[in-house]
Symmetry: none
DNA sequence: AATGAATGAGGCTTCATTCAT
DNA sequence: CATGAATGAAGCCTCATTCAT
C-alpha cells in the first residue's frame, strides 16, 4: 500500500535523471547547473534536493543508471541470435532512439569525471568488467571463433572489441549535429562489420580448394 | 629586432600552457580555475590575460598545442623502421614521460569539450583527419598489408587502429594512480601487438603451397 | 461542547512548543528550521502552520510560554519558607530537571532576539518587571533585610539579585556538556549563598557588644 | 618594506570587522548576510572572501577582537586610581562611545553562539578567565577589601562582580533605542556603586563609637 | 611587463511557506 | 485534521575578468 509513494518517488527521480542526462550531454556535468536540470525537468530547483542530496548525488545516480543501461544492452546482445548481431548491438547502443540508450557525450563525460572522482571510476570499472566478461563469454560460446586463426583468447578479443567500441563512441561526440542518428548508426555498423571480418573471418577455406 | 619580444611572448605562452595542461588534466577544463593555472605557472592571474584573451582562449591554445603534439607523434611514427613500431608509438603516446606527450585525461576532456564547442570540435576533427591520413599512408606503403587477407583498405585499417587507440586511451583515465607509466605502457603495447597480429598477420602459411 | 477541540488545540500547540524549545536551545531561533521542529514533534511541517501563523509566531509563543514559566518559578519562590530559599529557587531555575524549567541557551537567545524584535523585547521587559516586582515584594516582607546595613531599597536589592542571576545564566551556556545538571546547580547555589551573605547578613555581631 | 601590504591587509580586515560588528549587533550573527556586511563596509561580497575564509571565520575574528577589547578594557580598569573606578570602567564598557567598545547585543549573541559552537565557547571562556583573574588580582591588592566583613575571597568577589556586569549587559539589549548612551551609562554606574557599597563598604566603624 | 586587489554575476543549497490530496 | 511534495527567494561562496599601481 505504500507502493504508490515509492513509485512516485522513483518516478520523480527518473524524471530528474531524464532531465539531467539531457543537460549533462548538452553542457557537461559541471557546466550544467541545477537550474538547468530543474528547468529541463519542468520543476523547481528545490525539488531536486528532495530526491537527491546534492549535485554529486545526481551525477552518481546517473552513473548508476548508466550501469543499468549497459547491463540491459548487454542482455540484448546476449540474446541476439548470432555473435555478429551481438556485436552490432554493442556498437550501436549510442545511436539508438529507443531505450536502453547510451548517450555518447555523457559517456565521454563520465570517463572524464572518472579520471578525477574515484567513486565514479569504481563504477565505470565495474561496468566495464561486467560488460567485458559478458562479451568474453559470448565469444567463448560462439563457434565462429574456433575457426579463426589469430590465436587470441576470447578475453583478448573482447578487449579489442570494447576498445574499438569506446573509440568509435568518442568519435561520435564530434559534430553530432551534422549527422542523423541513422547515419551515425550506419557508420557504426560498418566498423562493426569490418572488425567482425578481421576478428572472426573463418580460415580461408578456399585455400585448399 | 622584435624577435626577442616574440620569443619571450612565446615563452610566456608556453609557460602558461604548461601549467594549464597540468591543471586541466588534474581538474578538468572548467573545474580548473584561472587562479589554479597562475599558481601552477608561478605567475599572477592578471598576467595570463596579457597573453590570452580569456579562459576559452587558453583552452583553444591547449587544443592547438595538442594538434602539434599529435603531429610530432605522427612524425615519429612515420620515421619508425617498421609499421609495427609506428603502431606502437601511436599506442603509447600517452604513457611516455618524454615529449611530445599526450595526457589521457586531457584528451578525454578535449573530446568532451568538442561535443559542446564547435571550434574545439573542428580542431579535433582536423587533428584526427591529419593523423588518420598519415597512418593510412603509412599502411599503404607497408608491404605487410599486401599479404593480409581481410580485404580492408588502408583507410579502413587506419580507422580501426585509431579507434582502438582512442578506446585504450579512454581506459587509461580509469584508476590512473594505481598503475605506473611503465605498466600502462606495457598494457598498451600488448594491445597494439594483438591488433597487429589480427590486422597484419600474413596469410596462413599455406602461402608455401 | 467545543471544549475538547480547544483542549486538543492547546495540546497540539504545547506539543509543538515542547519540540520548539528543544530545537531552539539546540540550534538557536533562526538556525532551527521548521522541519527540525516538526521532526522533533513527530508531526508534519504543514501541521505547524495550522497552529501557528509562521515561525515568528512560534517564537512569540515560546516567549509567552517563557513568561508563564517565570511566573510559575516566581510563585514557587514566593511560597518558599525563607527568603534564602526563594533566592535559591530563582538561581536554579535553569538547572532543574522538573518543570517549570528555564533553559539557559533559550533565554540567552531570547534576549538576543529581544535586541532586534521589539515585540519580544516588550515581552521580556514585561516578564522582567513582574519578576522584579515580585522579588521586591518578597524582600520588603522579609525581616532579614531590616538588619542589613547597606542601606539599599528592596527594589535595588532585587535588581542586584536579578543581575547576578542573569549573569550566572549567561555563564551557564558555556561548555554545557562538560557539567551535569547537578554540578551546575551546585555552582548556582554557591553563588546564591554568597550573594545572600553579602546582601542580607545581619549587622556584624559586635552589635551585641 | 612588505609592511604596507600587511598594513593594508590588516586595514581591510579591520574595515570588514567594523562592518561586521554593526551588522551582527543589528541583525545577529546568522541573520546578518555576507551581503549586509559587504554593503556596510562599502565593498563587494567577494572581497570579504579574500580576507576571511568564510562567514564562520568572520565570526571567529570578531570573537578574537572582542577578546582584545576586553583585554584593553581590563588594562584601563587596572590603571584606574581606585578599585571603585576600575569597577565603573568594567560596568560601562558597553555604554561608551569611544574605543575599546563592547557592544551589548554582540556580546549576548556571542554567548548564544558559544552555547552551540565550542570554538567560540573556548574563546569566551578564555576571555572570561583572564578578565576574572585580572579583577581578582585588582581586588586582592585593594585595601578596601580588608576592611569588609563578608568573608568572601577576592575570586568570589570577582565572580559576583562579573555576574552583575554580565547581567546588566543583558538588560542593556532591551529597548536600546529608548535610552541614550548617557542614560544607559548612568544606570550602569548606579548599579556599580550599589554593588560597591554592598561588597566593599568598610566595617561600620561607628560600631565601636 | 607584472601584480593582485577588487568586482559581481552566477552556481549550489536551504528553508519558510503553501496547497493538493 | 494531517501530510509532505512543491515552490522560489535568499544565503553562502567561487571565479572569470578588470584595472590601478
Amino acid at each position: 500500500m505504500s507502493q504508490p509513494q515509492i513509485d512516485s518517488t522513483l518516478d520523480r527521480r527518473a524524471q530528474i535523471l531524464d532531465a539531467a542526462v539531457v543537460c549533462f550531454a548538452k553542457r557537461g556535468f559541471h557546466q550544467a547547473s541545477m537550474h538547468d536540470i530543474s528547468a529541463e525537468a519542468g520543476i523547481s530547483v528545490g525539488l531536486i534536493y528532495r530526491y537527491f542530496e546534492n549535485k554529486e548525488a545526481v551525477i552518481s545516480a546517473m552513473a548508476a543508471r548508466h550501469k543499468k543501461e549497459i547491463h540491459a544492452m548487454l542482455e540484448r546482445a546476449r540474446q541476439a541470435p548470432t555473435l555478429l548481431e551481438s556485436l552490432e548491438i554493442l556498437f550501436t547502443a549510442h545511436c539508438c532512439e529507443n531505450e536502453p540508450r547510451v548517450i555518447s557525450a555523457f559517456v565521454v563525460d563520465l570517463y572524464a569525471e572518472a579520471s578525477r572522482n574515484p567513486q565514479v571510476a569504481d563504477l565505470v570499472c565495474d561496468v566495464l568488467k561486467t560488460a567485458m566478461d559478458g562479451v568474453t563469454e559470448l565469444i567463448a560460446r560462439a563457434k565462429e571463433v574456433q575457426s579463426a586463426e589469430h590465436g587470441l583468447t576470447p578475453a583478448e578479443l573482447a578487449e579489442l572489441i570494447f576498445s574499438v567500441a569506446r573509440g568509435m563512441l568518442m568519435l561520435d561526440v564530434l559534430r553530432p549535429q551534422e549527422m542523423t542518428a541513422a547515419e551515425r548508426r550506419t557508420r557504426q555498423l560498418e566498423v562493426a562489420r569490418r572488425l567482425w571480418r578481421v576478428l572472426f573471418k573463418p580460415k580461408t577455406e578456399p585455400a585448399y580448394a
